[in-house]
């Protein structure tokens, strides 16, 4: 079997949370193109219906399940309907997240409610989904878990607390998944997307078109597709507990926010040479 054939996901079933828009939709469509049937979970029915239409246009099946990932009962019901419809879950893509309440505030102004909402959305939601899906993966003899962290899971941010804490929590949660299930053929890894404006002009403007990103541009949603397929496929069979950050080079420097890295002045070297 050639190396490219190992990317095929025919006959597999992927649960994608936050599948209604942005990166979640792009990754769901890429998984479907690679051969997966999709369980599209998100809060807003109309958005996942649209994703489902696109999946079905490509000839794959798609189950739409409106889900609140911060509610364990809602997550459990979503996984039950996925099993009822398809009988298995091979890939769990925990993409849902966000929660902007309380963002931009210093610690002393953050309310209990804002803290819990942030942690629940980004960290507890992924825990609930893993808890519900892993028994099915174990029964089947394996599976792939893909969690979505962020550069803010690796580095801090000013006035950014729930997001950084929960995204960092996801990284170590994923490492523990890797340790716990490696022998039972479940691989758990992370994607860390950089700045992706999802075609939203306000976000493009806010991030100044990505001019501070080393590569000089922002990410395009569809660029997450092949990366997600790689992590869902047999081609990544020995990758476990690890991070793939797609972000145009910001983390390689990152001496200032958004990836800015100063250039070492050449004349300083010349002066040292003379001394």
């Amino acid at each position: 079997m050639g190396v490219l054939d190992k990317l095929r996901l025919d006959g597999k079933v992927a649960v994608v949370t936050g599948a209604g828009r942005g990166l979640g939709r792009a990754m769901a469509l890429a998984l479907a193109e690679a051969g997966c049937d999709i369980v599209a979970a998100a809060r807003t029915r109309s958005q996942i219906d649209e994703t489902a239409g696109l999946v079905r246009d490509g000839g794959r099946r798609c189950l739409v399940v409106p889900t609140d990932i911060t509610d364990p009962a809602s997550v459990a019901a979503m996984v039950e309907s996925a099993i009822a419809e398809f009988g298995r879950i091979d890939i769990l893509l925990n993409n849902a997240g966000g929660a902007t309440e309380g963002m931009g505030k210093p610690v002393e102004e953050i309310t209990d409610q804002e803290w819990h909402t942030g942690i629940d959305t980004n960290l507890s939601g992924t825990f609930y989904c893993c808890r519900a899906a892993i028994p099915h993966m174990l029964r089947q003899g394996g599976g792939k878990i893909i969690n979505v962290t962020s550069g803010f899971g690796l580095r801090g941010g000013r006035d950014n607390f729930m997001y950084t804490s929960s995204k960092a929590g996801l990284i170590n949660f994923t490492r523990s998944l890797a340790m716990t299930y490696a022998e039972r053929n479940i691989q758990a890894n992370l994607i860390a997307p950089g700045l992706f404006p999802h075609d939203n002009p306000a976000m493009v403007e806010w991030w100044r078109g990505g001019k501070f990103v080393p590569m000089g541009r922002l990410g395009r949603d569809e660029e997450l597709g092949p990366l997600c397929v790689f992590l869902a496929s047999d081609l990544s069979s020995y990758m476990n507990g690890d991070i793939l950050a797609l972000e145009g080079g910001g983390l390689a420097g990152g001496h200032a926010p958004t990836g800015f890295a100063p250039v070492v002045p050449l004349e300083a070297d010349a002066r040292r040479g003379e001394a």
């Binding site: 490219l4 890429a30 490696a182 990366l227 020995y238 990758m239 476990n240 797609l246 972000e247 890295a261």
Partner: protein, 257 residues
């Protein structure tokens, strides 16, 4: 179609260190994905030459163009002429894989400065020389993919591994610095952190091997082709926005304390 973005048809690659298990698997995977692939040794040792030739045979068996060269990766002249030959014979140079693999292990008080320098010259300076030589064709094309392969020694210490650990950590951060330097020139620079892999040069000792089988999270070493998958992704159009990253393929070995 998402899978088409992984295809390397029409691209050309050069793999240095293709006599080693991981370099060889990377070369074959690149060819399977459609690239023409030239391969080279890390040193001029006779058994490396044999292994590189057999790797080139595998490339040809896949109907891809390529050649095998026996070089000393620490020699500026060898590396320069290798890169020029690859660009000339294959028509361009899209992908450079640095899988330099000169194994070395000794307690540091017994390491002579010459031995230390040799490890650095091959494993670290050799990667610098190859990147610098590849810059000419890649900068003029306005595109390129450089993929440096390191091992767990780049990130964690190891008894008797001081020289290799220092060299590989050097390659890891060279990767990040070069990624920034070339971020706007169409060249991406990434590293693959390979876990304990069957056939690795530093895995000669049977006892260590048995212990790793017992202690690794998945209770097994990687097969070389399991490291090669990410190389194909990094080399492909799918990874245009990926740069400056060290991606670990180590079966969870870095997850534990």
């Amino acid at each position: 179609m998402v899978l088409d973005q992984f295809s390397l048809r029409g691209k050309t690659a050069l793999v240095i260190g293709a006599a080693g298990a991981v370099g060889r698997a990377a070369a074959v995977a690149l060819a399977e994905a459609g690239a023409d692939v030239a391969v080279a040794t890390t040193t001029r040792a006779a058994k490396e030459e044999v292994a590189a030739n057999s790797c080139a045979n595998e490339v040809w068996a896949l109907d891809r163009k390529g050649f095998a060269a026996s070089i000393d990766a620490a020699s500026e002249a060898d590396v320069q002429s290798l890169v020029e030959r690859a660009a000339a014979e294959l028509g361009r140079l899209d992908v450079l894989v640095n899988a330099h693999d000169l194994p070395f292990a000794k307690p540091i008080q017994e390491v002579s400065p010459d031995e230390w320098r040799r490890v650095m010259d091959v494993n670290l300076t050799g990667v610098f020389l190859a990147c610098r030589a590849a810059a000419a064709p890649m900068l003029s094309q306005g595109s390129g993919r450089i993929i440096n392969i390191v091992s767990l020694l780049a990130e964690r210490g190891m008894v008797n591994g001081s020289a290799l650990c220092a060299a590989q950590a050097g390659v890891m951060n060279l990767t990040r610095a070069l990624a920034l330097e070339w971020a706007r020139s169409g060249i991406t620079v990434n590293a693959v952190g390979a876990g304990w892999t069957e056939g690795m040069g530093i895995l000669a000792d049977e006892d260590s091997r048995r212990k790793l089988d017992r202690y690794l999270p998945g209770k097994r070493l990687a097969r070389p082709e399991e490291i090669a998958g990410i190389v194909v992704y990094m080399a492909s159009d799918a990874a245009e926005y990926l740069t400056g990253q060290v991606v670990w393929i180590e079966g969870g070995a870095l997850s534990h304390v």
